[in-house]
Every structure is written in structure tokens, then in C-alpha cells.
Symmetry: C2
């Protein structure tokens, strides 16, 4: 945990930015909720426990900055709010989402299934892939078991 914060601090400083107390509190919230896909408002509520005087605008500015540095990934599941995920630079950050249309849960699969497809894209479409996004909508295992 501390090591990861230290690393993010270095990433910030490498670009001339500071890891202020507000930014650190925001990063800690993201670290402590790595399983979830928090919206800016979610992060704001949680970060207020650590830094009660923080403003929502600062949270937005911090998340935007972290997104530009590729520390977090900004996503949009179509519900009107952006959601933010810490990227895991060690592992392959290519994961996929299982979005349950019944209970709204968003699970992740940590496998990357698209390697072979990306090769085909390069060959057949002359498209150089930088990143991708794969989401499935359906019924999750919890809802399946309930019925």
C-alpha cells in the first residue's frame, strides 16, 4: 500500500506535480476500494472522512490528473457518471467487465482474451491497437443462483 503510494508520488513528481494531502487521501480511497468502480461523487464521500475540508472540484481535478498520468482509468458504463479504476501497472491492465443488468453489479475478469484478435486487426484492418475495452451485459452468477 505505502509502496504503491510512493510510486504514484514519483509518477506525479516526474511531471512536476505534487502529492498533496488531498491527492494522497484520494489515492488512498481508490486503493482501499480497488474492487469497486467509484464515481467522482463516491470518491468525494469517502475521501471526506480522511480530509473533511476537501472540495468536490479538487476530487474531480485529482481524478482527471490521475487519468492523464494513466494512474487511473476513466470509464463510462452508460449510467450518466464517469467511474474511475486504479490501474495495476504490474499486471496486465487489460481486464473485462461483467455488468449485471438485474442487480447492477460490475465484476471483473482479469484475463486478457483479445491478444489474437489484436493481431488480426493489425493485419487485416491496418489498425494499430493501443487499448481496448470489452464489457458484457447479462445476468451475474449471484442473480442466476437466486432463481
Amino acid at each position: 500500500m505505502e509502496a504503491r503510494i510512493e510510486k504514484i508520488k514519483q509518477q506525479l513528481q516526474a511531471q512536476g506535480y505534487k502529492l498533496t494531502p488531498q491527492r494522497e487521501a484520494t489515492v488512498r480511497v481508490l486503493l482501499e476500494n480497488e474492487e469497486d468502480h467509484l464515481s467522482a461523487e463516491d470518491v468525494y464521500m469517502l475521501v471526506k472522512d480522511k480530509a473533511p475540508e476537501i472540495g468536490l472540484a479538487t476530487v474531480y481535478r485529482t481524478l482527471e490528473l490521475l487519468n492523464e498520468l494513466h494512474v487511473v482509468e476513466k470509464m463510462n458504463f452508460g449510467d450518466g457518471v464517469a467511474r474511475y479504476d486504479l490501474r495495476n501497472n504490474d499486471k496486465n491492465h487489460h481486464h473485462h467487465h461483467l455488468i449485471c443488468v438485474q442487480c447492477g453489479a460490475v465484476d471483473e475478469i482479469m484475463e486478457d482474451w483479445l491478444g489474437p484478435l489484436e493481431e488480426r486487426l493489425a493485419k487485416e484492418y491496418n489498425f494499430k491497437v493501443i487499448d481496448h475495452r470489452l464489457d458484457f451485459q447479462g445476468i451475474c452468477h449471484r442473480c442466476n443462483e437466486k432463481q
Copy 2:
């Protein structure tokens, strides 16, 4: 073209809705720009040529209605606006997007590459897939050729 409008008219009427002049004009704009991924504002600008008195709210309401009837697909590429695509009921509506990070173009691949993966999801994750979405970010063939 007329046949497709007739079909949409029937889909609407089957649910008790009418194909009003405003709705027809909106559908025609979508048909004439099937390659693009228009935002509500885009549709509004284009539809004003055919029906100058139309209001933006009506465009939103029409697009929302068509989305519920699965006539169009509502998408979000993360640029802050929803975009709408006519679905092609004849063909498989499963297509994928190639989003160029350089010029912003959004191309489509009309193949469905995910059949085998969906089987694995059902078996290994007990997740029943209803729909999916696969987008690639990268450099498109036009930009590749320019350089």
C-alpha cells in the same frame, strides 16, 4: 429505405406508438447517416432541415424511445455525449468499434468475434450474456498510411 421506415413504423405501432412526422424525420436522419455515430445534438441539427420546428427535447424523447424498442443502440464513447446507431435487425447486430485516438474516427467491424468467449463465460463464471461491447482504441488505417 422506405421499407425500413415501414418496418420501424410497425415496431412502433405494435407497442401503441405513432410514427409522427418528427419521429419519421429523425429516423430518416439516422438512415441517411448510418455510418456515423450521431449524438442527440448532431441528429437535432440534421433533422432541422427536414422539420425546422422540431425541438431538441423531441429528438431526445424519440431517440430514447427508439432505444427502448431496440431500433437504435445508445452508446457512450467517453466524450460526454451519448451516441446513437441504427440497429440492423437482419444482420447480427454484434459489431465492434475501432476508435482512432489520432483523428477521432470511429469505424466498425461487422464480424462477431466473441461467440466462443461467451460460452466460456457461461461455463466458468456462470454469467449469462445478453449483450456485449468491444471497442479498440488505436491508430486507424488512414492515419497509419499518412505517416
